[in-house]
């Protein structure tokens, strides 16, 4: 039996089989799962924001889509993964507050997803599956052994992508 490694908000973690990666309660944040299908080395990041605007290196790269993807690829590479052939699955980016005034902060989910997709492409990582947007909170579990991403919600049932 493997371990279920918990990834908190703004964190990035690595795993290999039989361990799995999990992040609970994704709202506007996006869970980014990367996998090297050959070595089965995987990573999961729980990003909060689309871009790191600072000119100095981010204190915590896991917070932003652009820096988190770079940091995850770097860490996977150092662990022996072939980072030229990574695949990705993503989930989250919802708009949780339905009864809001018109404030830009409520569009953060959409901006997060756009940045994640853009940065995956920039790093030549193939996006194989996504479950994004809507008004729903998601808990996700990524299994490096199979590449399956299991998604659990309160209001819309469960699925695997």
């Amino acid at each position: 039996m493997g371990e279920l490694i918990q990834v908190g908000m703004a964190e990035c973690k690595l795993a290999r089989p039989p361990d799995k990666l999990m992040t609970a309660g994704l709202g506007s944040c996006v869970g980014i799962c990367l996998l090297d299908p050959i070595t089965k080395i995987a990573s999961m990041c729980h990003i909060m924001l689309p871009y790191c605007h600072h000119d100095k290196p981010a204190v915590n790269p896991g917070k932003y889509a652009d820096t988190a993807i770079l940091a995850a690829v770097g860490a996977m590479h150092r662990s022996g993964a072939d980072t030229d052939h990574l695949i990705a699955k993503i989930a989250g980016g919802a708009q949780m507050f339905r009864f809001s005034g018109n404030s830009d902060i409520f569009k953060i989910g959409q901006r997060n997803v756009l940045s994640v997709e853009e940065n995956l492409e920039k790093n030549k990582i193939q996006l194989l599956g996504k479950d994004i947007g809507g008004n729903v909170g998601r808990t996700i579990v990524f299994d490096p052994a199979t590449g399956n991403l299991a998604i659990r919600t309160i209001h819309e049932g469960d699925k695997i992508i």
Partner: protein, 197 residues
Amino acid sequence: MQLDVLREIANIGAGNAATALATMLKSRIEISVPHALIMPFADVPGFMGGAEAHSVGIYFHVSGPAQASILLVMPVEKAAQLLEMLLGTSPASMSGPFSNLEYSALMELGNILSSSYLNALSSFTRISFKPSPPALAVDMVGSILNTILSQYGEVSEMVLVMETGFKKDKVDVVGNIFLLPEPDSLNTLFNALGVVV
């Protein structure tokens, strides 16, 4: 010392909100000992009941010289019980989703509690706090927090969370009210209270 001052602020705000809640529900409402803690983002959902806890969150952005967020978090079944007391009829579902009328009632409840909290803070600090209209979500606590905390993520690695719980008839926990001052607001608050930072 500074965290003691913040706990006192939470106590004063939540005390006033509890009085408003007691009047509305015609019940006895007590508040818990307030907490004021600085923590990394990853720890906040656990502190607010667990990332996956099915909850109602009512959120207000507070503008003015000391910007902040106010968030009211209630387990979904407690929110359903409150609706029953407020509206006099059982809600459409005890676990959500609720009807539009029920959502309106919850947002109004949030309005009253957050205004009472901020009014008490205003008279104590002589700073004016202006809450936004309410925003409501019914889902996992972690997912509700994402949007709120991402605003803090732009400027900070940690967040200050001030928490007070409401208890009805001594035992029954109704929910918690959280004040999250933005990093720049802390000096404004401390200056207003004459606390040397």
